[in-house]
Amino acid sequence: MADHIVKSYDEELSALAGKIAEMGGLAEVIVNNSVSALVTQDLELARQTIAQDKRIDDLLQEIEMRLIEIIARRQPLGKDLREIVSAGRIANDLERVGDMAKNIAKRVIAIDAGLNSKQLAIGLEHLTELALNQLKRVLDAYASQNADMAAKVQEDDAEVDAVYTSLFRELLTYMMEDPRNITQCAHLLFCAKNIERIGDHATNIAENVYYMVSGDRLSEDRPKVDELGDKVS
């Protein structure tokens, strides 16, 4: 798209996109670190992750201030308006992603014992990989203004949901096998749920990127798979 006649407006918008990218990068790092800390029972890494989440919260505040300032000074319209509104929503989703990671990191400290199942660890890592890949792709879609890529991310969330559902069943099985597993498994269940929620935030971001780029809404009635099965819908 051509540049604005007023150059400082372009600078403000690209600085904003830069802040979103920074926030996204940081969110990816702390999700990754929180799950690593969980799998390797690295308490120090868990504490670091909790501290890093603060930076994401600060970025959200900074982005919100910038948005308000741009709205007050520029009265954005058209694509600019969609970009401004989407940036606010995307920043909110990224902040929530940070919270999910922080919650996992806190549980690492709460569990305070190694994972006694190699298979569970592999399952969690696989789920994380999928969710992080979704997050990475949606941030790429945002940076490159690619609506099709965003639509694909939305579609692929079903895969994250499916893996989460199978992990959920696995954890239930462990709990039934031996009640001494319950405490740890309950924590792990929340961790898995948090990661699944990260996938959902990536989907929200995808929908916002799609709207930002195209001006149209992505249909939200995609097939949903979750641990509740089809008893509740």
Binding site: I5, G78, L81
Partner: protein
Amino acid sequence: MNKISSFDETNDMTDSKITARNVQVYYGDTHAIKDVSINIKPQAVTAFIGPSGCGKSTFLRTINRMNDTIDICRVEGKILIDDEDIYDPKVDPVQLRAKVGMVFQKPNPFPKSIYDNVAYGPRIHGLARNKSELDEIIESSLQKAGLWAEVKDRLHAPGTGLSGGQQQRLCIARAIAVSPEVILMDEPCSALDPIATAKVEELIDELRENYTIVIVTHSMQQAARVSQRTAFFHLGVLVEEGLTQDIFTSPRDKRTEDYITGRFG
């Protein structure tokens, strides 16, 4: 994938106060308006936007045949108001302009009293049989224009002594005194401060119930605030017309997008 709205569905032929078909306007050799077709809805405000020289004012002036006064100007195509061809030789332009009132960029009250400014139209069109009927028209027009309370004690003071915003509302009162059906406004607020502008915009919003209003404005924010539909002109062409919220959030044409976001090269 759902579209927020479809432009074609929001403007059908069935509900059209002003219907323009393939309108061309020439100033001598200059082709100023190129094949413009549009339906303008009744009881709504339609905003014309576009860069200087895009033809929006020229097109506005075809709706009450103001271009007739320019010798070298030639209009082709059809403009219907309520299915009546306003360029039909049988149509009296003076009668047409009573039906299609106009308010200009610069407030232009006559060098007469406030009362006589508003009374001018009703007098030449013989709309009042006696003084008390005329008084009623004056009061109700000034009421509708939101000016009555401010001027009722000095109706015989000169109209030119009012503030800019009051003068503009006086011109609106003068336009509505002859009971028009359509009011054309050519940048009615460009000479006004934000408070006077807000008063005129509030007035436009109230008048919308009873009149079809077409406003030319250079202020995108004003178009967004006062209109229900917006039409974007560029180089004499009607590029895009649609619901105001669609034009300002998701315009379909790149030229519209570039213009409203301040990117025009």
